[in-house]
Subunit: 553 residues, 2 copies
C-alpha cells in the first residue's frame, strides 16, 4: 500500500489528509504534528484569549481520534520531523514526550509546516510575560498569565491582523493596551488613508497607538511586569507583551532537504503544489504563491488558500490533477466594531509593481439606504485598470456590510470582471440590506463615468503641486465653515448653475464636496459649460483620511 | 431646446431625469407624477407603517424643489397624463387639484408609470379598512387607521415580499396578523422547500399563516372592523385588510397610445429601453424585461433594475447608447429575523422553461465557523448547469450572512461563473465573518464533486419511487432515534468502514446524515469499496423542509 506522509496537521495539512482519504481508500495516510493537536482553529486563538470563545475544546475542529476513526488516517502528535531523506524516501521522527527517534518511509510527502512568528534579535524577548500566539498552549499561557498576575496592561508589538485582534481581545478583558507599530499605519496591506478610520477607532477606544515607532527592547520592571523601550526613546510599563510583528515561512526542513526555495524565502511549488522534488508537495503558509490574477510572487499566509491548496495537492496525489489558481489576498479584520477588508491589488502593491495603468475612486456610501435607521458609512477605495476597466482591487472600512462588498468584488476579480460589471451588478436590495444602487453599483458607476470620459478626476496627491487651479467647495456654507481644504472657494451646488460666471475659464477647477456626489454633479455641469473641470474623489472625508492631522485639530 | 418629458417620478423615472441632466445641460427636462411626491422611498413604506422609520420626511429621497434647483428639471406633481398623441408628439395633462387640462409637447418621452396592486373582483374590497400599499399617502392612511380604530388585528392577503414585510411590521406594532396565501408557500419566487423555514418562523412569531387558501370576500363586521371569508369557507375578523396579492404593469397609457405590449402584458422595449415608437422609451416595473443570462421574457418589478434602466434610457437619449443587460431577479426579504434571498434561476423557473440540464445541491452551513459564538445556519440551494457547471441560481434562508452569499453568487452569475469558480473563490475569512471554507466555497466544492463524478447524488423526490434501494442513515444512533427517514437503516459514519460488509452490493445505497457532510464521506467510502452509492443532498434538514408535515409531528 502506497504511503503518504503529511507533516503539519492544521489548515492545509488536515484538508489535504481528509480530501486524500475521500479520493483514495487504498493509501496509507499519516498526519504528523509537532504539537498536541491537529486541525485546531488557530484563527480563533485571539478570541479564546479574549474569552469571547470560552471553551478551549471548541477550538478543536477535529481530534486525532476522529481522524483515525472516521478517515482511517494515522495521526502522530507531539512528533517532530527531524529530517527528510529524499534519496531513501524516509522521514526521521522524534517522539517528543519520550525523545525516541524513528524512521518512517513515504512514497509521497506533503509539507504543511506553516509560518512562525518573527522574533527580532532584541533584548528581553525571552523574559517571562513575553508571548507570541500560534498554538492553543500559547493562548492558554497568556490566559493563565493574565489570571495569575492580575495583569492590567499589555503592549502589542505590531499592528497587523493578529496585533489588532489581540489588542481588541486584551482590551475586552479590561487591559489597557499599547500598540507599537514601526510603520505609520496599522494593517499594513491597506493603503495608508484606508487605515485612518482604524487609527481613529483604536484611539477612541483607549488604545495607546504608537505609530512609526519600533520596539527597542524589554526589561523586567522592578515594580513587576515589563519595562518597554521603543526606538524613539519612549519607555513605559506593561504587564505582558505580545509579539505580533509578522510571520515567516517555516522552511528549515525543506531547506535542509535541499528543496528549492523561492526568492521571497518560501518553499517553491508549481501550480499543482509540487516542490522541486516530484515526490514532495507543499501547501499553506510555508509556500510562495503567485498572486491572482497578476501572477506576482508573494507570501500570503491565509487560511482559505491553505485549505484549497491542501485539496489541490490531494487531488494531484490521487491522480486527478488540477491547478491551484493563486491567491488574491482577500482578508478581513474586525477591531472594536469596525471591519476592514480588502481583496486584490492596493495602490501600494500596484506602485510596488511599477504599474501606472490604473485609476482609483473613493466613496463613502451608507451600508444601506439613509432613510432606514442606523445606516453606517463604508469607506471604499476601488482600483481599476485603465483603459480596460478591469477591477484590480477593493478596500473597505466601516461598521456594517463591509465584508459583503469585498466578497462581491473578490468574485468579480476572480472572474476578470470590470467596473462596468460592478455598475450593472444586480445585488440584494431591501431597505435594511442595501440600496437600489448598492455601494458597489455606485463604485462601478463612478469608475465607468471616469472611463467613459463623463467624469474628470484630479488626484488629492497633486493638491499642493504647482499649476493654475481653483479649488471649489460645492457644499453648503455651514459645512464649508466647519472645515475645508485650505484656499478652497465655496459655491454651493444648488447655486452653481446661476453663479458659474464667477469661475475662470482658463484655470482648472477642482471640485469637492463631502463624499463626492455633489462634486460629481458639479463636474458634469462645469464640463458641459466649457470649464476645465476636475473632481477630487471621495470628498472632504477622503481629504481628512489623507491628512489625518487636520481631522484631529 | 429639445424637450424630454418623463412620466413617473419614482425609481426609474427619477434616475432617468437626473442622469439625463448630467449628460445634457441643453435639454428641457420635465418630470411628471400623478402623486404629490417624486423620488420617494417606496421600498421603505412597510417600515414606515411599522414605525421602524419614524419620520415621513425620511421617505423623501429628493423633493421637487431639489430637482428644480439642483438639476434644473421642471417637476409637475399631482398631474395626470391623460393621453399621449404620438402623431403630434404631445401629452395631454390634467392638473389634479384644479382639474385644468393642458398639452405639453415633447421630442422624447419616457414612460415610468410603475406597477399597481392587483385588485381581484371580489366583494368588499372597497370597504373602509381595506388598503393597498404603494404610496406615502397609502402608508399614512394605514397608520391613521390603526391609531384611530385602535386596531388589534390585520389580515394580509398575499404572502409575497410586501405581504411578508407588512405582516412583520404590523406585528411589530402589536397587531395579531393573519396571512392568507393562495399558494402552498410564501415568497413565491422561492422553491417551496426553501420557503419552509419562513413558514416555521412566521408561525413561531404568532402569525396565523393560512396557505393554500384564497380570499373569497370581505364584509363589514357588525362588531366593527372586517369579516374575512376565504375560499376554503373559513371566516374570521380583522381590524384591517392589506391587499398584497401582487402588482401588474401600469400600461393603460401605453396601450391607448398604441405602443406594443409584450406577451406578458408589460410594455415591450428593446435593449436600449425604446418602445415600438422610437421617440418613446419605457423603464421600470411597467416594462417586460429579458432575464439574464437566459433571455426569457419576464415581469420583475425590482428597484435596482428600474434605476439602471432609467440610466440606460438617459444615456441613449443623450446620444451615448449602451444596452441594458437584463434582470437576474436578485431579491431579498427580511421577516422576523430571518432573511430569504435568491438570484438567478430556481428549480421552479427551470422546470417552467422545460430545462432538465441542471443539478442541485442543498447545504446548511453556519454563517461563520462553529467555534465562534452564535453561528447561525443558512439553508442554501445551489442550481447549476450540467455538464458545464455554470451557476444558474442560488437561494438562501437564514438569520445572518444570507444576502452576502446571494450577492456573491449574483456576481458569479453576472460573469458567467461556474461552480468551479465558487469552489475556488477567495472570500473574507475571520472567525466572526465566515469560514476558511466559506459556505459558498463548500457549495461549489459539493457541486464540483458532482460534476467530477466524485459524488453521486440521488433526488429526494425519488425517495418513494420504485426501485431496489437501501436508505442509509449515517448519523449517530441518538440522532437516528430522534427522527429519521422511514425505512432507513442506521450505521454511524465512524463504523461504516468496518461494517460495510452488512450492506448489499446489488442495491443502490442512498445515504444521508443531518446536513450532507457525513453522508458525503460515506458516499466516497462506499463508491471506492464498489457499492452502488448515492447521496441524498442536504441531509435530514432538507428532508424535513421537503416534508414539513413530519417536522411538525
Amino acid at each position: 500500500m502506497a504511503k503518504v506522509i503529511i507533516i503539519g496537521g492544521v489548515a492545509g495539512g488536515a484538508s489535504c489528509a481528509a480530501r486524500l482519504r475521500r479520493q483514495r481508500e487504498d493509501l496509507e495516510i499519516t498526519l504528523i504534528d509537532r504539537g498536541k493537536y491537529v486541525s485546531f482553529a488557530n484563527c480563533g486563538l485571539p478570541y479564546y484569549v479574549g474569552e469571547v470563545i470560552t471553551e478551549e475544546k471548541k477550538l478543536l475542529v477535529a481530534t486525532p481520534e476522529l481522524f483515525e476513526r472516521r478517515f482511517n488516517i494515522r495521526v502522530k502528535v507531539e512528533t517532530e520531523v527531524l529530517a527528510v531523506d529524499r534519496a531513501r524516501k524516509v522521514v526521521r521522527l522524534k517522539d517528543l514526550p519520550s525523545g525516541r527517534e524513528s524512521e518512517e518511509p513515504y512514497d509521497t510527502l506533503v509539507l504543511a509546516p506553516g509560518a512562525g512568528p518573527v522574533r527580532p534579535p532584541l533584548p528581553g524577548l525571552d523574559l517571562p510575560g513575553v508571548f507570541a500566539l500560534r498554538t492553543i498552549p500559547d493562548s492558554r499561557q497568556i490566559r493563565g498569565w493574565i489570571q495569575e498576575h492580575h495583569t492590567t496592561s499589555a503592549v502589542v508589538i505590531g499592528g497587523g491582523f493578529i496585533g489588532l485582534e489581540m489588542a481588541e481581545n486584551l482590551a475586552h478583558r479590561g487591559l489597557k493596551v499599547t500598540i507599537v507599530e514601526m510603520l505609520s499605519q496599522v494593517m499594513p496591506p491597506l493603503d495608508p488613508e484606508m487605515a485612518e478610520p482604524l487609527h481613529e477607532r483604536l484611539r477612541a477606544r483607549g488604545v495607546d497607538l504608537r505609530l512609526g515607532d519600533g520596539l527597542a527592547g524589554l526589561e523586567p520592571d522592578p515594580a513587576g511586569g515589563l519595562r518597554v523601550k521603543t526606538k524613539s526613546g519612549a519607555q513605559f510599563s506593561a504587564g505582558l507583551a505580545l509579539l505580533a510583528i509578522g510571520v515567516r515561512p517555516e522552511t528549515k526542513l525543506a531547506k535542509e532537504a535541499g528543496l528549492t526555495l523561492g526568492p521571497l524565502g518560501g518553499i517553491q511549488v508549481d501550480a499543482e503544489m509540487r516542490t522541486s522534488d516530484p515526490a514532495i508537495f507543499a501547501v499553506g503558509d510555508a509556500v510562495e504563491v503567485l498572486t491572482y490574477p497578476s501572477h506576482r510572487r508573494a507570501l500570503l499566509p491565509l487560511a482559505g488558500p491553505a485549505n484549497r491548496q491542501g485539496r489541490v495537492a490531494a487531488d494531484v496525489i490521487a491522480g486527478k490533477p488540477r491547478p491551484f489558481r493563486g491567491v488574491q489576498g482577500t482578508a478581513v479584520c474586525g477591531v472594536f466594531g469596525l471591519t476592514a477588508a480588502l481583496t486584490g491589488e492596493t495602490e501600494k502593491s500596484l506602485k510596488a509593481a511599477d504599474r501606472s495603468d490604473y485609476a482609483k475612486v473613493y466613496l463613502h456610501p451608507g451600508h444601506h439606504v439613509a432613510y432606514y435607521p442606523d445606516a453606517k458609512p463604508i469607506y471604499l477605495k476601488l482600483l481599476f485598470e485603465r483603459p480596460s476597466g478591469k477591477v484590480l482591487g477593493l478596500q473597505a472600512v466601516g461598521e456594517e456590510g463591509v465584508e459583503k462588498r469585498v466578497d462581491v468584488a473578490a468574485m468579480a476579480i476572480q472572474m476578470g470582471g470590470t467596473v462596468f460589471d460592478l455598475e450593472e451588478s444586480e445585488l440584494c436590495y431591501a431597505p435594511q440590506f442595501g440600496a437600489a444602487k448598492d455601494p458597489l453599483n455606485v463604485a462601478g458607476m463612478i469608475a465607468a463615468n471616469v472611463l467613459r470620459g463623463d467624469l474628470q478626476l484630479a488626484d488629492w496627491a497633486d493638491l499642493e503641486k504647482e499649476g493654475d487651479k481653483l479649488i471649489l467647495d460645492v457644499r453648503d456654507p455651514a459645512e464649508y465653515a466647519s472645515g475645508h481644504v485650505p484656499g478652497a472657494v465655496n459655491i454651493p451646488l444648488n447655486e452653481l448653475r446661476a453663479r458659474s460666471g464667477e469661475l475662470p475659464k482658463d484655470k482648472e477647477i477642482w471640485a469637492y464636496c463631502r463624499v463626492g456626489q455633489r462634486s460629481y454633479y458639479a463636474n458634469r455641469l462645469l464640463l458641459q459649460k466649457g470649464f476645465k473641470a476636475r473632481n477630487l474623489p471621495g470628498g472632504y472625508l477622503t481629504y481628512l483620511s489623507l491628512n489625518p492631522e487636520n481631522s484631529r485639530g
